[in-house]
Amino acid sequence: MAKATRWRRFTRSEAFSGYALVSPTALYALLMLAAPLATIVAFSFFKDGYLTVIREFTLQNYVDTWADPVFRAILLRSLFVSGMVTLTTVLIAFPIAYYISFNVSREMKSRWLFLITIPFWTSYLIRVFLWKVILGYNGVINSGLDILGLIDQPLNMLNNVQAIVVTLAHAYAPFAILPIFVALEKIDRSLLEAGQDLGESRLMTFWRVTLPLAMPGVVAAVLIVFIPTIGDYVTPQLIGGGKVPMVANLIQARMLDLDNKPMGSAIAVSAMAIVTLVSLAFLLVNRRFLGVQK
């Protein structure tokens, strides 16, 4: 009896309505995301039989993965490339976000944001491929320089880390611009006036007021660019010509080409763990900037 009334009270509560509403979506995420993620974590501790997976606990996959110099080299390269991409993207995106937030009139802001997001929504593959056209042996830059008579031999700009960095920095530009823009928009403009009234120069006001207040946006931008780029498959394949593989290419090769699922899982889990660690470390370093504007 008491149980029944308590149940009835619960079904009428706000929490129950919340759970009931969120449950279809939550269930989907549980089945299609949480369960599969748990499965690859489990697989990474299983043995690989030819074409099957032997359900026996082992740490061998991790031992093999981390002892493999190829894996270590590829992981280091992925971290380096993602780091460079993140640095480049955020550095060139900040002035744009600043320009839109501070220099553009109110009505024009959403037009500028629209303009910046359009390239992002066009075919990713074709955008990446076009960088190959731009940077290629007889590509746009080389033929342009040739017509101008600046070079005798075409420059070799493809199949290296720099080309991957340029392509990814282009692909992830809006991801960096939008969070920084949002943070800049939140800044109380009177703080800047106060800074100048108190005798700071424009640059010093920027350095001591604007930048620290924009940091939450910068931190978000760094994470939003860093995490997906480390798992990028297409760009190393097309722009790197398969010569500079990154983690995603390695996972794909182990999983599909070699059909070694436990090994592929161990690499995927290791990569995820590293990405999480790096991201947490970055958050920790920048924690004093977060929560400033509450």
Partner: protein, 268 residues
């Protein structure tokens, strides 16, 4: 505080952003099989080749089925979650919403690999359907982000007024809430559609032998002979996504105007 030099920088930056897209139509209409300057002359041969290609037609058909289904499912799931997140508070809300939004910060390859392992493990045959499952997962967070804004802008007193006037919860939702968030729903549908149409990695892993538009493009990029046709295809895709986005933006702005808010930003 203004820094005048920024204007020049902004225009250079836009050029950098648009450089690949400007090149696309140039090479799509260029009468040469090699993608390089100097240009050879005008042709529509590549568009003709594109129209005659039967594998491409199959890929387009598959992609449209996937994008349409994924956008409808993702938006429906998004409405549930966004409504729950904006209207109710319940224990564990942060964790639940966090899990749902996780694909936003998870490398797509991880989503693809883990789904592949599970689906093969329980013996599901890879097809268009399995791609839809994956795409719903990655489109839902974007749908929620858009719908959250729409539901947040909603004035709760309008709903309360409807209750007071004797409407039930369901009829209030249909008569008051839904029309007010409709612009958000439409822009979420369009956004999910665009994301799904362009998604490569999950389709690459989960489509089996079925071609989708991005996996077809990827397979053709290896053959230099096919590149001009891909340029023509790319031109059509860019045109299509600009049209879709303009419609999405129109509805987003109308939604803001309808609920009486001020326009503060773009997508995402």
């Amino acid at each position: 505080m203004k820094f005048p030099a920024l204007r020049t920088y902004a225009y250079i930056y836009l050029l950098f952003l648009y450089a690949p897209i400007i090149l696309l139509p140039i090479f799509a209409f260029n009468d040469g099989t090699i993608i390089a300057f100097p240009l050879k002359g005008f042709t529509i041969e590549w568009f003709r080749q594109m129209a005659d290609n039967s594998t491409l037609r199959k890929a387009v058909q598959n992609s449209l089925i996937i994008a349409l289904s994924a956008s409808i499912f993702a938006t429906t799931l998004g409405v549930f979650a966004a409504r729950a997140a904006t209207r109710f508070s319940f224990p564990g809300k942060g964790g639940i919403i966090g899990l749902i939004m996780l694909p936003l910060v998870l490398p797509e390859i991880i989503v693809a690999v883990s789904l592949l392992v599970v689906l093969l493990g329980i013996g599901v045959k890879l097809s268009v359907f399995t791609v839809i499952l994956g795409h719903v997962l990655i489109c839902t967070p974007y749908a929620i982000a858009i719908l959250n804004t729409a539901f947040n802008a909603l004035d709760r007193s309008l709903e309360e007024a409807a209750y007071d006037l004797g409407e039930t919860k369901l009829s209030t939702f249909r008569l008051i809430t839904l029309p007010l968030v409709m612009p958000g729903i439409i822009s979420s549908l369009l956004m999910s559609f665009t994301i799904s149409l362009d998604e490569f990695i999950i389709a690459f892993f989960l489509a089996g032998a079925e071609p989708t538009l991005p996996t077809y493009i990827f397979s053709q990029l290896r053959f230099p002979k096919q590149i001009p046709m891909i340029m023509a295809l790319g031109t059509c895709l860019v045109a299509a996504s600009i049209i879709l986005l303009t419609i999405a933006e129109y509805f987003r702005r109308r939604g803001i105007a309808k609920t009486g808010g001020t326009d503060t930003g773009g997508f995402l």
